[in-house]
């Protein structure tokens, strides 16, 4: 296996990137991977990007990469970085364009045998009712006051409008509403993009999947999360759509200009950063929280449409949330660093919060279990429900991987496989696929990604998160 010679393997699942790796690194890097994944990670610029992040001022602990890490733009995807909340920096690129891109898992009262005979009608109905792909308009267009409500309140805005229940919000990271949201910090242009996109899935790697629980690893915990073998679940992957993209675009520009004022320089312009407590930093965090709330509301509206489709086709739309997690976010959290408790701004770029049982931020039913950590696989492969551990708190600022992680460029994926070949392969696996764009489908083909089972085995083996359940896809819709 070819791995980067600058890395030092600590144990089976950990590679350290010393500060001596490259001039300018202020903190060490740590990559959670085994030798196989490390060889894949070493093929692109991921390690350089971990080093780039480690060069940013005001970070504490280590610049982290999860086992699904791959080259992104600025930060690697699968990256986690912690800034001192008082003296550190915030980076718009460290959150990314799709602010609060995330996943939510719904459970259903159905078993696989109930759903399989109607699966075709069900996925057709979902595909008809949930706008996906490019340019399809929302079924819930917003006026300016509605937009401000969404930005300030997140999922609870949708619930107060009748699109869900209070129980839903209790099963979302941060209750479905990030504190500190400032609708006034979101540009008119960003709002304009969002007005016509609430309750739309989008395209790229976003999807909705009907899944069956295939294997349970931790029966008591799976029961607490409401997951039983052969039961049917729905996984929704979407984010803040054009609104979030525009917020990031706007603040990248603002931060680049402001960096000169704060005498900051970064190794890649996409890493543009400002002090957390600067006017620009506070404004970004207010806009980012607002965009995150838009994403929570977006997934809530998609949930509503999903429930309606299940009700129409199968008779019951009783689909409670298992949980909803963010993948791209910056959040103020308390962590122990060198023996002292510190308030930190945790950037998770393609990473999932994984707080274990007993974490003070978890109230209600997850206080004694830890919250579910949702790991979607690639199209046609398994997804997982995990739970965080104390070791994640010690080592990764309570963070885990977020998926399988790309292995192959989109261009290569399209070069290697035709849409017809992909659909035949899915058909052979008896997975129904509905996609708006054939080219887009091929870009998301399973072998364009790492093996999700292996990625999850590594995060489990490293002791960062434990396996609770494995789900397999029955039908998928993609934009």
């Amino acid at each position: 296996m070819q791995t980067n010679p600058g890395l030092k393997q600590i144990d089976r699942y950990r590679f350290l990137l010393p500060t001596a790796y490259r001039k300018g690194m202020r903190i060490e890097g740590l990559i959670i991977a085994d030798e196989t994944l490390m060889a894949q990670i070493s093929r692109d610029q991921t390690i350089e990007q971990v080093a780039n992040v480690a060069s940013l001022p005001g970070l504490v602990g280590r610049s982290l990469a999860m086992p699904d890490a791959h080259q992104g733009y600025g930060f690697c995807i699968g990256g986690v970085a912690a800034a001192d909340a008082a003296e550190g920096i915030v980076s718009a690129g460290g959150v990314g364009f799709d602010i609060n891109c995330g996943v939510r898992l719904l459970r259903t009262p159905y078993r696989d045998t109930d759903v399989l005979p109607r699966l075709d009608s069900l996925i057709e109905r979902l595909f008809r009712d949930i706008p996906c792909g490019t340019g399809r308009k929302s079924r819930f267009p917003l006026d300016p006051s509605g937009m401000d409500g969404v930005l300030a309140q997140g999922a609870s805005w949708a619930v107060s409008g009748g699109y869900g229940t209070a129980e839903d919000c209790a099963h979302i990271e941060d209750g479905g509403c990030l504190p500190g949201a400032d609708p006034a910090a979101v540009s008119p242009r960003a709002k304009e993009r969002g007005m016509i996109q609430l309750g739309t899935l989008g395209s790229g790697n976003h999807f909705l999947e009907i899944q069956a629980v295939e294997q349970i690893y931790d029966a008591p915990l799976a029961a607490r999360f409401g997951l039983a073998e052969k039961s049917i679940a729905v996984l929704i992957h979407s984010g803040s759509r054009g609104l979030g993209h525009q917020v990031c675009t706007d603040y990248l520009d603002i931060m680049q200009t402001a960096m000169q004022k704060y005498r900051l320089s970064v190794p890649d312009r996409q890493l543009a950063s400002v002090p957390v407590h600067s006017a620009e930093g506070r404004s970004y965090l207010g806009a980012m929280a607002a965009a995150a709330n838009f994403a929570f509301a977006n997934r809530q509206m998609i949930t509503h449409l999903t429930r309606e489709a299940f009700s129409a086709i199968l008779g019951s739309g009783n689909l409670p949330l298992v949980y909803d997690v963010c993948h791209n976010i910056a959040k103020t959290e308390e962590h122990r660093v060198d023996g002292a408790r510190k308030r930190l701004l945790i950037h998770r770029k393609g990473a999932t919060r994984a707080f274990p049982a007993g974490h003070p931020a978890l109230q209600g039913e997850f206080a004694g279990t830890g919250h579910p950590v949702l790991i979607p696989g690639s199209m046609g492969t398994a997804s997982y429900v995990l739970v965080g551990t104390d070791r994640a708190m010690e080592e990764t600022f309570g963070s885990s991987c977020h998926g399988a992680g790309r292995l192959m460029s989109r261009t290569q994926a399209k070069r290697e496989t035709t849409p017809e070949e992909l659909l035949t392969a899915m058909n052979r696996k008896r997975i129904l696929v509905r996609g708006e764009s054939k080219g887009g489908l091929v870009e998301e083909k399973p072998d364009a990604y790492k093996d999700v089972d292996h990625v999850v085995d590594v995060i489990h083996g490293a002791g960062i998160a434990r396996k609770v359940a494995r789900l397999i896809p029955l039908a998928v819709m993609k934009g």
Binding site: D44, Q45, H70, Q71, G72, Y73, G74, I77, G93, G96, F97, D98, G133, T134, G135, R136, R189, E192, R193, I196, G202, S203, G204, G242, H245, Q246, C248, T249, L252, D253, Q256, T257, D268, R269, Q270, A272, R406, L407, M408, S409, R410, T411, Q412, E436, S437, G439, G440, E443, G479
Partner: protein, 139 residues
């Protein structure tokens, strides 16, 4: 240098390399590249004209803002450009006319959605042969 563009592979996203005898030509080609990522440019009907003006602090930001402007028109206004003419290009400002159509899905020739234009490994090189630009997109 012949005006042209090509797509550049990236492990998760996609880049555009645009070339031209002048910076203005290369900027036009970068826009053509962006449109070709989104859909088949040959299918765009040019029945509507839009004027675009962009300002920035430097050439790099100008390139990102120029492409971001086209993306905004597409995402918010559902306007897709098929033909592009840069009328004026300075170090910090740009004026262009674009011709295209209102995008109405489902639409044949659609390829993929672009989330945003990034500053990642952004590069602009000009010499006596012409200008070469490289910009990466978030897909």
């Amino acid at each position: 240098m012949q005006a042209s563009f090509s797509l550049v592979e990236h492990p998760s996203d996609l880049g555009i390399e645009a070339r031209g005898a002048t910076p203005a030509e290369a900027f036009e080609q970068a826009a053509c590249g962006l449109i070709a990522v989104i859909l088949d440019p040959a299918t765009v009907v040019k029945n509507e004209k839009r004027s675009i003006e962009v300002e920035a602090a430097d050439m790099g930001q100008l390139l990102v803002r120029w492409l971001s402007e086209l993306l905004y028109l597409y995402d918010a206004k559902h306007f897709i450009a098929g033909s592009i003419r840069i009328e004026q290009l300075g170090d910090r400002s740009l004026r262009a006319s674009v011709w295209g159509e209102q995008y109405r899905p489902p639409r044949a020739g659609t390829r993929c959605d672009v989330k945003a234009v990034t500053y990642h490994q952004l590069s602009l090189r000009s010499d006596t042969d012409g200008t070469v630009l490289r910009v990466f997109l978030d897909i």
